[in-house]
Amino acid sequence: MNSMPSDSASMSFVDRVVVPGDHVLDLTGMANQTIKLGAGLRQDGDAISVMKAGKLRISKPNKYWVESSHKRYVPCVEDTVLGIVVDSKFDNFLVDIKAPMLGLLPVLAFEGGTRRNIPKFEIGTLLYVRVVKANNTMNPELSCMDETGKAAEFGPLKDGYMFETSTGLARMLLSSPPCPILEALGKSLSYEIAIGLNGRVWVNAASPSTVILVSNAIMNSEFLSAAQQKIMVEKLMKRLQ
């Protein structure tokens, strides 16, 4: 494995299932190149080895990561997640993001935030936040602003219903082009949705029956293919009428 030329070694593992311990890339033949490693990969001297079981993905030109689906979330920088406020301290909100540790959201991490206009979140508020710092030894740090300091869509979510899924389903829902289940539901129903990469999904619509239908359809679509998802949505629509 290590004796193969580096390019073909990495190509042979991309989009295939890898397990911890696999060496997927040999760095000896690649001097003066920058490679970005995402989740689940680690540099082991002269080779890149896998730490999490999953599929190896590559994003041109040089970003590699391992994609896997879990029910718990491992925080990663620049992920957008849905958090629940658990407590508020003097300078941080403690937010649960389904990670091993609670996330810390600084009270000033809001657009135009100063000590005078700190938002008051009661316990149990659902927030759409961005992960700023993620380290497996410290509590992850969150923010309600994007990189430029604007609020974007971050902040508290009002009304609606939240349910939890696996991280793999959340990633499938966020893929572009739009996921077939969301498109199919959107053709006949109108609803609002916010998806967190930590496996939490928030849905809002005008009537509670629409919300319940959308959330149950999404939960049931995890292991269906695109065609099966469309068929399921058609059956649900017929049942409504």
Partner: protein
């Protein structure tokens, strides 16, 4: 403290408001009607006395064993029944291994009282020698997956395993008719427990100042 907080489940304000609003329209969040049950499957093990119940996402396994013991002083002609619960951490991140928490003990007590106070299991037939030897029946409930309504699922599992449990037959024999022989299951057919009726637990929740029941 933070580690424990990260493991306990927190309900959002949105969920609470939505659930109440949906219930006002007679809708439950998983598309059931207010009085609908989730699909229930009971699987039995090959050996009598073990069963696994799946109620929706909730899974509970139950195992019955028996042992000959001395009876209690105030009930010399009755056997004993005891329920033990184990909340495995694989069922829910909030469950901790080791000592049972408050809810685990409460669940064990509810199942125990249901079986004991209704007189479902016949205790007098478990007596072998009055005042000296009786059968002690032990039911172990293992929670494998917590998807809600553990009490109902655990109760069904306990009933199912008690119904299929077989205890070895024992007779008094030997030289002076005082020696106890416990017959092997190959020699004599093992005996079932005498169950008079089945107490089934049904859990209700009341919302909206007592107006809505689920």
């Amino acid at each position: 403290m933070e580690q424990r907080l990260a493991n306990t489940w927190q309900m959002t304000v949105n969920e609470r408001k939505f659930i109440e609003m949906a219930l006002a329209a007679d809708l439950r969040v998983d598309d059931r009607g207010p009085f609908d049950y989730r699909p229930c499957t009971i699987t039995f093990g090959r050996v009598g006395g073990s069963s696994e119940v799946q109620l929706g996402e909730t899974r509970v396994m139950s195992y019955v064993t028996s042992q000959l013991v001395q009876p209690y002083r105030d009930r010399p002609n009755e056997g004993t029944l005891s329920i033990f619960t184990e909340f495995s951490p694989m069922a829910d991140p909030a469950f901790e291994a080791g000592r049972p928490g408050e809810f685990a003990i409460e669940l064990g007590r509810i199942v125990d009282r249901g079986l004991r106070e209704s007189g479902a299991v016949d205790m007098e037939s478990l007596c072998v020698v009055v005042g000296k030897l009786v059968w002690s029946i032990r039911v172990d409930l293992h929670i494998l997956d917590n998807g809600g309504n553990l009490i109902d699922a655990a109760n069904i599992a306990a009933l199912a395993s008690l119904l299929t449990f077989r205890r070895p037959e024992c007779t008094l024999g030997g030289d002076d008719n005082h020696e106890l022989i416990i017959h092997d299951i190959e020699d004599r057919e093992p005996l079932p427990l005498i169950i008079h009726h089945l107490p089934v637990a049904v859990t209700f929740a009341v919302f909206g100042e007592g107006n809505i029941m689920v």
